[in-house]
Assembly symmetry: D2
Homo-oligomer: 384 residues x 4
C-alpha cells in the first residue's frame, strides 16, 4: 500500500512550535509521507525566520510560499490571504496530497482551507472548537466548516465542534501537540544555555540568573490602532518593576508595526536597562526559558496552553485570549500599567500548579495514528 | 443622520435574480445607500452578461471586478476565489461600506466574506442555514461563521444557523427575495412576449404555444468529470419526448465546459429539432416562462424555491439540491434517461399546488428594513 | 560538466508550433536539459489544448501555469500578464534554470521576460527585431531590451536588434524554427489524412479533394471592437466564392470573443455550406494542409513565414502583419469583401515560388548549439 | 474643450522628489487634470511614508495601490511587479486617463507601463535614455519601448532614445524636474531648521553646525547578498572620520534588508557617536541639507543630478550610477573603507562648481506644456 501523503502548511513561527511533534510523528510513521509547506511570515527574517529552525530540526520542505503583502493594515491582511489561496492552490495541485492540514486560527490559515477544500482534498483542521473573541474566532470556526476532519485539543472544544454540526466520527480530541513538547522539555527542565549568548537580540545585558520574567505581546487585530498604546502600558509596567526581562517581538499581523514601533520608540526614549529583546527562539529553548522564569506576561496563547501544563504563572493582558479555557496559573488584567505591575508581583509570589487541560503529551502520535487510519473524505453535510 | 452604506456583491446571473427585490428595496430606502458591486461571471458574455440586465434594470454599479481565471478545473476555481479576495479587499477599502452583503453559497462568495470580515466591516449573509451536500455546503456554512448578521429564507434555516452557535438576535427569517419577484410576476402571469424573438438564442424554432418545457442543468462541482455524461442523459430524454423545449446554458463553474461541451456535441451530432437554447433571460421573463411551462427539468435551485411558490412542476435531477427543503411540486430522479423521461411525463400530468416555504413575497422590504435598524457589529463570539 | 538547464515557456498554440524543432533539439542535445513550461491559453480547451499535442509529441512538461483571466477585454489582458509574472516568478525560483527562453511578441511573453530578468536569470529572446505595428510591436521590442541573448530569424531583424543597442556578440540569426518543420514536411508533402475524419470540427462536410482554401484570422488587439465586423467580411467573401474552406478558430486575445462570436453568428444566420471549422491541428498536419491548399487567407504570421518557404499563396488581410518582411507569395488587402474575394481568385491563379527569408530548415539545431556554448550573462548595458 | 487627464504613478519616495515640480505644473495647468496614483513603497512606513509628504504638499491622491510583497529577495521583487500590473490595470480602467506617466527605471515602473500600454493608453516615460548598468538598465529601456512619448533629461539621453528607434517627434529634452526643485531651493539656500528637532530619527545627537556630511546608500539589486558588506564599509569609513553625519535609510529593494540589517547591526555593535539616522525628509529640506553639507556619500542618483546643479561634492560608491552622465562634483570609489574615507576628505577640500547637465530649472513647466499640446497616440512602430 502506498503511503498517505499528508501536506501540512505552516504559516508562522508560533504555528510551527505548536505542531512540531505532530510533524515529527507524521514524518516517522511508516504509512505516512509528510509534505511540509512553509509559507507567509514563517519565511521572513523580520518575523523570526521560522524556516531556518524548521530546516535545522531536520524537516524537508516541499514548497516555500511567499505571500505576505506589505501594508501594515487590514486591507493588506485580506490581500495576503487572497494571494495565499492562489499560491497554495498551485502547491496542492502539484503535490496532490491525500489530506491537507490547516492549523488553528491565524487569518491566513483560511487560505489553506479554501485551496484544499475547493480542490476536493480532504481537509484536517487542528485546534478547532476553541473560543477567543476577535477575528481569529471567525477564522477558526470558518476553518471548521471547511474541514472534513477535526483534531481538537480539549473536551470542551470537541463538544463545541460537534454542536456546530460536524460528524462526531470525525471530531477527535488528540490534545494539542504543543503540550508534547512541553512534556518533553519538562523531563529536562534546566536552563542549559545563556539566552543572550545563544540568541543575540538587542537591548541591555541582564543579570537574569537571580530571576527573570518573559514578555510576549501581540497586537490584537481588530484594535490595531491601539496596539502602540497597549504595548506601551506593558513596557512601562515592566520597566518600573525593574526585574530582568526577556521580551519577544510580535509576529506579523495587521498591527504588527503598531506594537513594534511602540517598542522601538520606548527603547529610544527610555533606554530600559532591565529589558533584552529577542526575535525568536527555538521552541524547546523557549519552553525551558519559561519553566525557569518567574512569570510570563502578555497575550500569547502559550500562556494559556503550555504554561498551564508547565505550571508557569501568567499575567494575561487584554482580550486576545478571551473565553479560552485556562488553568489556575493565569491572572487576567486590562491594559493598565498599575494593574499589570500588580498582577506580575502577585503571580511571582503565587504557588505553582500543573494541569492537563490541553493534552497529556502524546498528541503528535495520536494525530499521526489517526491520519494513518481515518477515512478520508471531502464530501460532508451538516448533521442537523 | 447619514445613510447606511450597504455594499452588495453580485457574482453571477442567478445570484442577481435572487436578490433583485432586495437591491431595489435598499435603493429606495430613505436611510440606506446601495453600493452595488458586479463581479465574476456576472460580467462575462459567455455566462449571460448579467451586468447588462442589471444596468437595464436601472441600478448604478459602483465597481466591476473581473476575477474569473480560465482553466475549466478546480484549481482555477480556487484561484478565482483568491483573486476575488484581493480585488474585493481593494473595493471595500475604497467604498468604506457600513455593511457588506454576501449571497448564498457559490464558491466565490467566500471571497466577499473574507474581504469584508478581515477589514472589520459588518458582514451580512443571505440564505444561510440551508442544506445541500457538495462544496456549496462547506462554503455556505463557512460564510455563516464569517458573517455577523444572517437573513435566512426558512424557519428550518433559522434554527440551523442558531444551532451553529450564532446569536439569535442576529438571525432573521426574511424569506428569500427571489419569492418577491415570483409573487410580483404571479400578478401578471401571461407570457406576453415571444421568447425566441426577444432573446434570440440558437437552435430550432419551436411551436411552443401548445405547451413546452424548460431545462436548466448545472454541473455538480465535485463530480465535474461526469458533467458531460450527466447532461447527455437529460438531452436524450428531452429529445426522445419531443416536447418543445427551452434550454438554458449553465453558468460558470469548474465543470462548466463539461456540461457546455456535452450540449454542443449533442447539438452537432443529433441536431435536435425540439430544443432551443438561451444564454440568459431577464428574471421576470424567465419566471413568466416557467409559470406558463408544463415542467422545469434540471437541478436549478429555482425549481426548489420559486417553483414551489409558483406551483410549477419540477423534475430535479441528481444530487445538487440534496437535502434542500422542497415542496410537493418536485420529483427527484437520478441521471437516467428513462427515469428522467418518465418523471417529466408524470410531472406534466400532475396537479399544481402553491406553497410558501421560502417566503411570502415581502422579503426585499424586510431585508431593507432590517438593514436600516439592526445593530451593526463585526465582533462576535460563538454562543456556547 | 552538468547540463545547462534551458527553460522554455510556451503560452499559446502557435508559439508551440513555431519552436517545436528547437524544443526537440534542446531535448536531444547532450549538454542541455529542457525545462518545458506550458502556460496561458496553451492549456485551455477553447484555444486548442496545445498541451495535449505537446505531450503527444513526447515532451515532458515541467510546470503548467494557469494564468488567463476571463474578461474579453484589454484590462483582462493586462491582468493576465501581471498574474503571469507572479506565477512564472515562482516557477523559475523553483526550476532554477541557467537560461529562460521567451518567444516572440504575444502580450503575455513579457511576463516570462520580467520573471526571468528580475531574478537574474539570463534571458533569451526568440524572433526579436521584426516589425509589425500594433501592441505586439511594443511587447517584442520591450522583450529585446529585457533579454540578454537574441536568436533572430532574418538578417533585417539582426540588424535592427543591434541598432537598438544590443551587443552584436549576442545577436545571432538562427532562422526561425517554424521553417524547420516546414522544411521537414516539405519532404513528404502529400495530404495523407482526411482532415475532417481526423480532427472532427464543426460545419459542413466538404468536397475538398478537388481543391480548397484555408482561413485563419485573429483579432487585431488594438482594434478589438471591430473584430466582429472584420471577420464577417472574410466570411462573406469566402461564402460567396463557394470554394471548399477549412477555417481555424482564433486563439485567445482581447478580441477573441469578437471574432469568435462573429463566426458563430454567421454560422447560425447563413449556415455556409462550403466552410468547415477546426479548433486545432497538429503542426505538421496543418503545414501539409497548407501545402496542398490553393491559398491561405487571413492574418496569421504563418502566411508570412512558413508559406513563403513553402511557396503557398497568401491573402493577408488588414494590419496585423504590417511591415513584416514578406515574400512574393503574399498579397495584402484591407477588410473589404470584394477585395478579399478578388485577391483570393488572383492568388489561386498565381505562380508558386519558394523563398528562404526566415531560415533554411536548420534553425532548431542552431539554437540548441548556441545555447550549449554561448556565454550566459544577465548583466548588460546599452552599446552606445 | 475638456481637460486632458494625466495619470502619474509614484511608487517610491525618491521618485516623488524627482517629479514634484512636474506634478505641480500639471496640477496648475488650465488644460490638464492630474490623477495622482501613489503605490508601492511610497505608501509604507518603513520606506519613509512618502504618501504623507505628498498629502502635506497639497496633492489630491486619486488611488493608493498596495503592491509590495515581503520576501527580501528577487522573487518577491518580480511578484511585486506582477501584482502591480494587476492592480494598476484596475486603476487605469477606472480612471480612464488620456495619458499615463511612468517614471525612470525602478523595477516596479514597468508595471505602470504594461498596465497602460496593454489598455491602449498613451504612455509617457520620464528620464529614459540614460545609462547605468544593472537591472535598472533593462527596466529603463523596456519602458522606452513600451512608451509612446519620451521626456528625457539630457541631450545624450535624447540621442540615445532616438537611436533605439523611437520617433524623434516624440522625444523631447525637458530636463529633469528634480533640477527645478534644486533651482528653487538654491534661491533660499539657508538651513532654516534643525534636522533632528524637525525629523526625529534615531542615533546620536550631533554638533552639526560646524559642518557635516550626508550619506544615502541603496542596495545594488543584482548584488544584494553583498549589500550588508557594502554598507558596512561606508559605515566604518564614516565612523572613523568622526565627522557629524546624517544618514538616510535605504528605500525598498530586494536587498533592502541586507543594507538595513547591516546598519542596524553596526549601530548595536559600535554605537557610532557621530551618526544620526533619518527615515525620510521633505524634498526641499533634504536639498537644503545637501547644499549646506560638506559632501554627499553613497550611491544615490541625487549625487549625480541635483548635486551637479547645486555644486555639492559627492563621493559615489560602487556601480549603481555607472555610465550615468556626471559633473565635476563627483568622485567615484569602490567598496573600500580607506578609499571611501580618502575620497570624502578630498571632496570636502575641493572647489565647488555648478553645472547644468540635467536641466535649467524649468522642467516641470516644460513637461506640463508638452502634455497639453503633444499628439497622444498609443500606436507606434520602430523607425527603422
Amino acid at each position: 500500500m502506498s503511503k498517505r501523503k499528508i501536506c501540512v502548511v505552516v504559516t508562522a513561527r508560533p504555528s510551527y512550535s505548536r505542531v512540531k511533534t505532530a510533524l515529527k510523528a507524521i514524518n516517522e510513521h511508516p504509512n505516512l509521507e509528510l509534505q511540509l509547506v512553509v509559507a507567509g511570515s514563517a519565511l521572513l527574517g523580520r518575523y523570526g525566520n521560522a524556516v531556518d529552525v524548521i530546516e535545522k530540526d531536520g524537516f524537508t520542505i516541499s514548497e516555500k510560499v511567499f505571500m505576505v503583502l506589505e501594508g501594515e493594515n487590514k486591507t493588506a491582511m485580506a490581500k495576503t490571504t487572497g494571494l495565499g489561496v492562489m499560491e497554495l492552490a498551485n502547491v496542492f495541485y502539484k503535490l496532490q496530497p491525500d489530506a491537507v492540514i490547516t492549523i488553528a486560527d491565524r487569518f491566513e490559515t483560511i487560505a489553506t482551507s479554501i485551496a484544499a477544500a475547493y480542490q476536493n482534498i480532504p481537509l484536517v483542521h487542528l485546534q478547532g472548537g476553541e473560543v477567543t473573541g476577535n477575528i481569529d474566532e471567525k477564522v477558526r470556526h470558518a476553518n471548521t466548516k471547511l474541514a472534513d476532519i477535526h483534531f481538537v485539543s480539549t473536551d470542551d472544544a470537541k463538544e463545541r465542534v460537534i454542536k456546530m454540526g460536524e460528524n462526531p466520527d470525525f471530531v477527535i480530541n488528540t490534545g494539542c501537540p504543543s503540550i508534547d513538547l512541553a512534556d518533553e522539555v519538562l523531563q529536562h527542565p534546566d536552563l542549559d544555555f545563556d539566552p543572550i549568548e545563544k540568541y543575540g537580540g538587542v537591548g541591555s545585558s541582564l543579570n537574569w540568573k537571580e530571576g527573570y520574567i518573559v514578555v510576549m505581546q501581540h497586537p490584537v487585530t481588530t484594535e490595531y490602532k491601539e496596539a502602540r498604546n497597549d504595548v506601551t502600558k506593558t513596557l512601562e509596567a515592566v520597566h518600573e518593576l525593574n526585574i530582568p526581562t526577556f521580551w519577544f517581538w510580535p509576529n506579523v499581523d495587521a498591527g504588527s508595526d503598531g506594537t513594534s514601533s511602540g517598542i522601538r520608540s520606548f527603547r529610544e526614549r527610555i533606554k530600559p536597562q532591565n529589558i533584552h529583546f529577542f526575535k525568536n527562539m527555538e521552541p524547546d529553548d523557549f519552553l525551558r526559558l519559561l519553566i525557569n522564569s518567574q512569570c510570563l506576561i502578555g497575550n500569547s496563547s502559550v500562556g494559556i496552553r503550555e504554561c498551564s501544563y508547565l505550571g508557569v504563572p501568567v499575567v494575561n493582558i487584554g482580550t486576545r485570549q478571551n473565553r479560552r479555557e485556562r488553568g489556575k496559573n493565569v491572572m487576567d488584567v486590562t491594559y493598565d500599567k498599575q494593574k499589570i505591575a500588580g498582577a506580575i508581583k502577585e503571580r511571582i509570589a503565587s504557588k505553582r500548579e500543573k494541569e492537563q487541560i490541553y493534552g497529556n503529551g502524546t498528541s503528535g502520535e495520536k494525530i499521526a495514528d489517526q491520519l494513518s487510519k481515518i477515512e478520508l473524505n471531502f464530501h460532508k453535510t451538516i448533521m442537523y
